[in-house]
Symmetry: C2
Subunit: 130 residues, 2 copies
DNA sequence: TATTGTTATACTCTATAACTATA
DNA sequence: TATAGTTATAGAGTATAACAATA
């Protein structure tokens, strides 16, 4: 229990540090990481667990830096799809690779331990859609 | 790796929800939880991984609600010790107990799985002091 | 000189409420 | 009527820089 708290703290401290190196806030880094494919603003709000009105500002700031862009959805003209630009894609690649190399603990595990870890997490994570 | 991200997201989502029920922000809840014993402002800044100037405001707001108080340190008159009030202690007890009951996953594990989990976490947590 | 805590400042995140344009 | 996104607003977190008091 305390270990879960520490693991969570470690993960976010690491994530925030990696993002900060690129002048990104935690939320900006999270949003970029979520955009594996184009997504409506609304979906981003759900995944980031924040109000839809906040997404406007975050996308604005990332857009001003050329990391994401909005595009109209032909099938529903209310919807705006958000997607990474080329530069955004590259930034996400860098973040992911640095996250990996900072948290090498899991990668250095044997097969058996890794499976035990995943089994345990699946019990603790009944309702996570991220 | 992705599982660690999900576990961290789950933990903080749960923590923030429990804190919000008591009209506390995530940082306010974190600070209360850290105050197992009186602590200088400076130590809180280190544990919360934020600038010392932020601690002033957070302690101010918690103090205005009667959950913490400052006290002079006789041995170094620059230092102010922050400690929980009686109401603060009770709030922390409630938060802890609700966190536990929400994340029952770990508690329901068998001995073997629990040990595997702790062994894994200890590999991922080389530098966590919280 | 260095450290502790505060203040001032500017920016970001946050929820709420009111608005528009679509559906 | 309901939904997607925006805007306005107020409160909270954030780092930086400058400051007073103390070491």
């Amino acid at each position: 229990m305390d270990q879960l708290a520490q693991a969570a703290a470690l993960y976010y401290r690491n994530f925030a540090a990696v993002a900060a190196e690129r002048d990104l806030t935690l939320m900006q880094g999270k949003m970029l990481s979520l955009l594996r494919r184009p997504m409506p603003m609304r979906a981003l709000a759900d995944l980031l667990a924040c109000d839809a009105s906040n997404v406007t500002g975050i996308v604005d700031r990332l857009g001003a830096r050329g990391l994401v862009r909005r595009e109209a959805d032909p099938s529903d003209r209310r919807v705006k799809m958000v997607m990474l630009t080329e530069e955004g894609e590259e930034t996400v690649r860098q973040i992911r690779s640095e996250l990996m190399s900072n948290l090498t603990g899991l990668e250095s595990l044997g097969e058996e331990d890794r499976h035990a870890f995943q089994r345990l997490l699946s019990q603790v994570l009944p309702a996570v859609s991220t």
